[in-house]
């Protein structure tokens, strides 16, 4: 049984709000770093690491998440926190929230992992993100297919580069 563990680390370095005329206005934020954890011991096969977070924490004070509009993910970079942990066959990255449906954001195939490329291939359709981010909380879910057993916790770090806009 995999429990999910909440540990969010938010880096919000600078925020610029550009004014427009009724159009959604971009919010400049730094990347968001989230640590998803699958509680060990884990066994060979598909396992899940999760973390709950609130997108509000990386938004500037004057912007409420309910105002978010035209949200996209520019990139997600994954990394294993423990270098001794087994490298999985694949990763699938999903987002969920209490009042929306869980959606696939992207994945990393075995070929990419073998060539040490941990950039997530992102879903082209991302319209669902707005609704998820506007919800009261968000859950990042990372499914990974382990090649061998692992007796410790398994931490996957996700660095998400958001493209956020908001409406007044």
């Amino acid at each position: 049984m995999i429990n999910y563990f909440l540990k969010t680390q938010v880096l919000a370095l600078s925020v610029f709000v550009l004014w427009g005329c009724g159009e959604p206005e971009p919010i400049k934020t730094d990347v968001q770093k989230l640590e998803t954890i699958a509680r060990g011991p884990l066994f060979e096969g598909v396992n899940t690491a999760t973390v709950e977070f609130d997108i509000q924490k990386i938004l500037p004070n004057e912007v409420k998440k309910e105002q978010l509009s035209e949200v996209r993910i520019k990139s997600i970079q994954l990394a294993l926190a423990d270098s001794a942990a087994p490298v999985p066959n694949s990763f699938t990255v999903l987002l969920a929230s209490p009042n929306t449906s869980m959606k696939e954001c992207g994945f990393i195939q075995e070929e990419s992992i073998k060539s040490n490329d941990y950039n997530v291939s992102l879903a082209k359709e991302q319209e669902f993100l707005e609704e998820i981010l506007q919800d009261k909380m968000q859950t990042l879910v990372i499914d990974f297919d382990l090649k061998e057993d692992w007796f410790d916790d398994y931490t996957v770090t996700a660095v998400i580069d958001w493209e956020l806009k908001f409406k007044n």
């Binding site: 049984m1 995999i2 999910y4 509680r39 060990g40 011991p41 096969g45 598909v46 899940t48 999760t50 709950e52 066959n89 694949s90 699938t92 999903l94 969920a96 929230s97 209490p98 449906s101 869980m102 696939e104 992207g106 994945f107 195939q109 075995e110 291939s121 992102l122 879903a123 082209k124 359709e125 909380m137 859950t139 879910v141 499914d143 990974f144 297919d145 007796f151 410790d152």
Partner: protein
């Protein structure tokens, strides 16, 4: 030495695990590994942030006969997700326990045609689920019987 470390981790985790497990939610009866009646896959249902989700953890035929590679979600309506591995794919999503052995508000995905259906799950007995996928109205649907799988008893 490493084995002792592992042992201590397991014992610690186990203690925590068993002390929590007596007070499980009624809805958590859904948690576990299940097999659809066609026996082509095994689905593990877990709970994330209060809702229930099921992912494919085993496929009877894991290799695509055309590509000779592990099967992917080739029928996904989003072209960019057609290479998501089918092993691990979440085909049950967002189920909420409604009481009286029923989970609803969720969806079931059919990887064979890339369609997502509304879905309601009923616990017929502790080890049997009636899973009905439907389109809009429950009339336009089909019910399958899933059976619970457990670790083999040691002989």
């Amino acid at each position: 030495m490493k084995k002792f470390k592992i042992l201590s981790i397991i014992l610690g985790g186990l203690f925590l695990f068993t002390s929590m497990s007596y007070k499980t939610d009624e809805g958590d009866k859904l948690i576990g590994v299940w097999e659809p009646s066609n026996k082509k896959a095994k689905i593990k249902i877990d709970k994330i942030s209060g809702k229930y989700y099921g992912k494919i953890v085993w496929l009877r035929e894991p290799i695509d006969p055309v590509t000779k590679k592990p099967k992917t979600d080739k029928n996904n309506p989003d072209e960019s997700l057609k290479n998501v591995p089918l092993k691990g794919f979440r085909m049950l999503k967002d189920f909420v326990y409604k009481g009286d052995g029923e989970w609803a508000d969720g969806t079931i995905y059919d990887p064979q045609n890339g369609s997502t259906y509304n879905c309601v799950i009923k616990l017929r007995d502790d080890n049997t689920l009636d899973i009905r996928g439907y389109i809009g109205l429950k009339t336009f649907g089909r019910t399958d019987v899933w059976k619970r799988l457990v670790m083999k008893k040691k002989k």
